[in-house]
Amino acid sequence: MWENQYLKRLLAAPLLFLAACGTGSQPKPEAAAVQNLPAAHVDPATAGSITGRITFAGTPPAMPVIDFSSNPQCERAHKTPWKAETVVVNPNGTLSNVFVWIKDGLPPARWDAPSEPAHLDQNGCIYEPHVLGIMEGQPLEILNSDPVNHNVHAESKVNAAWNESQPPRAEHKFKRFDSAEVLFPVTCSVHPWMKSYIGVSPHPFFAVTGAEGTFTLKGVPPGTYTVEAVHEKYGRKEGKLTLEAGGKATIDFAYGS
């Protein structure tokens, strides 16, 4: 990819006067500021948990079946029709793929990111998972399990956006995001139905709802928090709660068509 970087600089040089227009892909300075904060410490004796449920009211929208025919190898990977995952309503009336996180209320601190990478796979010309939560600075390992070429385009606005190819059997890619950003899409232009969303959190208190439509944030210090739920189609909802020392707090969110 160094050739692309070189070409970018070469082409950008005579266009500096247009820099004010910007590409929206420059990293923000907040990332550096976080490094100067004290390390976060949670006393296990007082830590509690926040749980909740994301319900969906009304008739779930019918999701279109993806047409894989532009690439026979993608088509062969699916024996049964595969529906888009934009809105996945579970049988119990809850909503999958909702990113939930503590948006506000934690004391300013630097939370160390886990060294274990989060994973994003391209399998059957579909991104797995559809919505991924990751911490600032945590490695993201991107795999291509398909026998076809993909490009991976992180359409982030706060973090630097990037677009790279990933041929079949290529080495895994490792990326990091240095600033909090909830949510941004990751797309593949080779297969335009492929879309995933990433939520980058500055702390470890986030979750993505699954087949039960529930979430649990563990090890949260006591305090009063704003919790936010974010869905790719139905947008953002937030609520406030107070977590007592060693206690459990519950907050539910309701979406609908």
Partner: protein, 305 residues
């Protein structure tokens, strides 16, 4: 001046071929945007580090666009060399050079929009320059024709219904409308701006064309030019409506739908034809209707309608 230039059938046919290939290039570019394939090949000028990547999915459209663009670039080089070697008309020689500069700039803009992840101002510039370049190739084909070299059939400008200045308004307004459409396609602005301006540009085209048909009806070239522009614009309005309706119908689609892609790409291509027709009409007006002070020396005068 034209009388000193012999007609070169080969150059004229080559110019027509270049214009046709350029229209094909506009279609290929429209397909890239409509199929959301603009970033399917992240590197440039190579594709996946190769001259010929596997043509699958969006790569087919993006790399196919690059292949057609390379062909047009090579054809433009040949065209410029041919013009420089054979043409006596100084302004046409410069036009040949300008076409080559434009196609090179267009290639660089295309590469930049890939490397910088489709910033709207580069992508929109790329789309607008494509339209201007196509009009340039059509103009070169016009200038190298035997019909052009036969000289103008000049006609007095009707002082009550002047046409020279007005004829320039059509290509300017069409270019503005194309820029709005390109900006909307690259998500810089809402489609509403493109839709709102369409009555204005249609009105300008009607104004210019009807003025020619009503007040200069006996001039065959102008009449044909006006009717052609009117016909293309008529089609373009309905194509625009169809393209918009398919976008609304497939607003929740998770991938580009064939009907939406088809109408949108045809709308882009006919937009290029509208631009070229308005440029050609302006050229014909300025050639056949001299400024009142410039007289009619050496021209075949036709009485005004």
């Amino acid at each position: 001046m034209e009388a000193n230039n012999p007609y070169r059938r080969g150059l004229h046919r080559w110019s027509i071929l270049l214009a046709c290939c350029t229209l094909l290039l506009v279609v290929a570019g429209g397909l890239v945007t409509s199929r959301d394939a603009g970033l399917s090949v992240p590197d440039w000028p190579l594709s996946y580090g190769k001259l010929m990547p596997p043509m699958e999915g969006g790569i087919l459209y993006e790399h196919g666009h690059r292949m057609v663009a390379t062909t047009v670039g090579l054809f433009t080089i040949v065209s410029m060399i041919w013009i420089l070697r054979t043409e006596r008309r100084r302004w046409l020689r410069w036009l040949g050079v300008a076409a080559l500069v434009a196609v090179i700039a267009q290639g660089v803009l295309g590469g930049m929009t890939v490397l910088f992840l489709l910033p709207w101002w580069i992508s929109t510039s790329h789309a607008c320059l494509a339209q201007l370049f196509f009009s340039t190739t059509v103009a070169i084909a016009l200038f190298t024709s035997d019909w052009w070299l036969a000289g103008p059939e000049t006609i007095h400008e009707d002082e009550r219904h002047p046409i020279r200045g007005l004829s320039l308004l059509a290509p300017v307004s069409v270019l503005g409308q194309l820029a709005l459409g390109a900006a909307a396609r690259h998500k810089a602005i809402g489609t509403i701006f493109h839709i709102s301006f369409s009555p204005v540009v249609t009105g300008v085209i009607l104004w210019v064309s009807l003025r020619i048909l009503l007040h200069y009806p006996r001039h065959r070239e102008l009449r044909r030019g006006a009717v052609t522009l009117l016909g293309i614009t008529f089609c373009q309005v309905f194509l625009g409506i169809a393209a918009y309706m398919t976008r609304i119908a497939y607003a929740d689609a998770v991938q580009p739908m064939p009907l939406m892609v088809t109408f949108t790409v045809i709308h882009v291509a006919v937009g290029a034809l509208t631009m070229a027709a308005s440029v050609a009409l302006a050229i014909l007006v300025r050639r056949n209707v001299p400024a009142i002070s410039s007289g009619f020396a050496g021209a075949r005068a036709v009485a005004a309608g």
